[in-house]
């Protein structure tokens, strides 16, 4: 095996989003929900680079000699956005954290997450929040080992969602 330097950098150009879409699909496969991915490369370009972007992204790149056989240098990413806690103020939500399977176990995921935390603190955030599926033991173990706590298990908060017809009806005031 070889040592890989995970270089984590701020992602600016639109060019990378083709590869970003490829890794989104890999993450979805891992979570067994590929048919649910509706966001296209164009959506990402539009929503991430408007004046008040809906999200921010950082990527991990490896040097040329460690590129994958398909030629990918971007081997992981984190996507996050700013949120607000009415009790604590500014916060961050990390929507995705992903490292390609062959680059795991080298500190890249940790480096990405640390970078998100650093960016959040610099912006005055006091929380970094994210979600994980309770059966996803490798991820759960990883996160807990880094010092976070399980808000759902410890405090009893459940995530709720309205979408599709329920959202439309709600918006029309029909409920």
């Amino acid at each position: 095996s070889h040592e890989v330097e995970g270089i984590v950098s701020r992602h600016r150009s639109g060019e990378g989003y083709q590869k970003h879409s490829a890794t989104l699909k890999e993450l979805a496969e891992y979570e067994k929900v590929l048919d649910q991915v509706k966001v296209t490369q164009k959506d990402l370009e539009q929503d991430g680079f408007i004046k008040n972007p809906f999200f921010h992204g950082i990527v991990a790149e490896v040097p040329e000699q460690h590129r994958t056989k398909e030629g990918h240098a971007k081997v992981g990413y984190a996507l996050y956005f700013y949120t607000y806690s009415s009790w604590k103020g500014r916060a961050l939500y990390m929507e995705d954290l992903y490292v390609m399977p062959e680059f795991r176990g080298k500190g890249i995921g940790k480096a990405l997450m640390s970078k998100v935390a650093q960016l959040g603190l610099a912006a005055g955030c006091t929380q970094l929040n994210f979600a994980v599926l309770d059966w996803n033991k490798p991820s759960l173990d990883f996160y807990l080992s880094q010092g976070c706590f399980d808000v759902t298990a410890d405090m009893g908060y459940h995530c709720m969602r309205c979408e599709g017809a329920a959202l439309e009806q709600l918006a029309q005031g029909d409920t």
């Binding site: 966001v39 929503d47 949120t83 929380q127 970094l128 807990l144 399980d150 759902t152 329920a166 959202l167």
Partner: protein, 194 residues
């Protein structure tokens, strides 16, 4: 009861702060509130705000002895939206929300708080506030409205489920995790240099 829902103005921050505390008391977590009305003003009313807020108001003739409005007997639920403070109205509820992103589905809206003062519940005000959040979201092409609720808070759980919300924690096993305080500082210190 006649009520109005409108976008919050920065002058509403003291009232919003009052109601945030009332909601925390209801959730048995009053000691957790650290935000001041100045924080709310700075974070909600800058060019790139961290949140948006809607206010529900009732006419002043319904005032309680401590200056808030008392529930009347009629149950007319007229909802209108205006960005301006209406003279002769008092604030009795709010919804605080912000935009989020799902890499699978795109734009979403997250409703952080929904609160109506106890004397004014059961009159459609909570529904009016939440419907307006949904409407604002849909206008911005959001495909989801998300929120969280404490599992013991049965009245709220029932309210949201009646509106078509699904409990993703129960259904799919989603858990929220959090770094804060010391654990967040420790994590950030380990970030690679640029």
């Amino acid at each position: 009861m006649h009520f109005k829902v409108r976008a919050a103005a920065k002058e509403d921050c003291k009232e919003i702060s009052r109601m945030i505390m009332e909601l925390a008391v209801y959730e048995n977590m009053a000691d957790q509130v650290k935000t001041s009305h100045e924080d709310l003003k700075r974070d909600g009313f800058s060019p790139n705000p961290f949140y948006e807020c809607l206010i529900a108001e009732v006419p002043d003739e319904h005032k309680t002895k401590d200056g808030h409005c008392l529930a009347g007997r009629s149950t007319c639920g007229h909802v209108s939206v205006s960005g301006q403070r209406q003279p002769g109205y008092t604030v009795v509820g709010y919804a605080l929300y912000f935009y989020t992103y799902s890499t699978w589905k795109g734009r979403s809206v997250y409703m952080e708080d929904l609160y109506v003062m106890p004397d004014f519940r059961g009159k459609g005000i909570g529904t009016g506030l939440m419907a307006k959040v949904a409407q604002v979201g849909v206008e911005k092409q959001c495909v989801r409205l998300q929120l969280s609720v404490l599992e013991w808070n049965k009245p709220s759980l029932d309210f949201y489920i009646a509106k078509g919300a699904e409990d993703l924690t129960a259904k799919e096993g989603w858990h929220f995790l959090r770094f804060h305080g010391q654990t967040l500082d420790t994590l950030a210190k380990e970030a690679p240099k640029d």
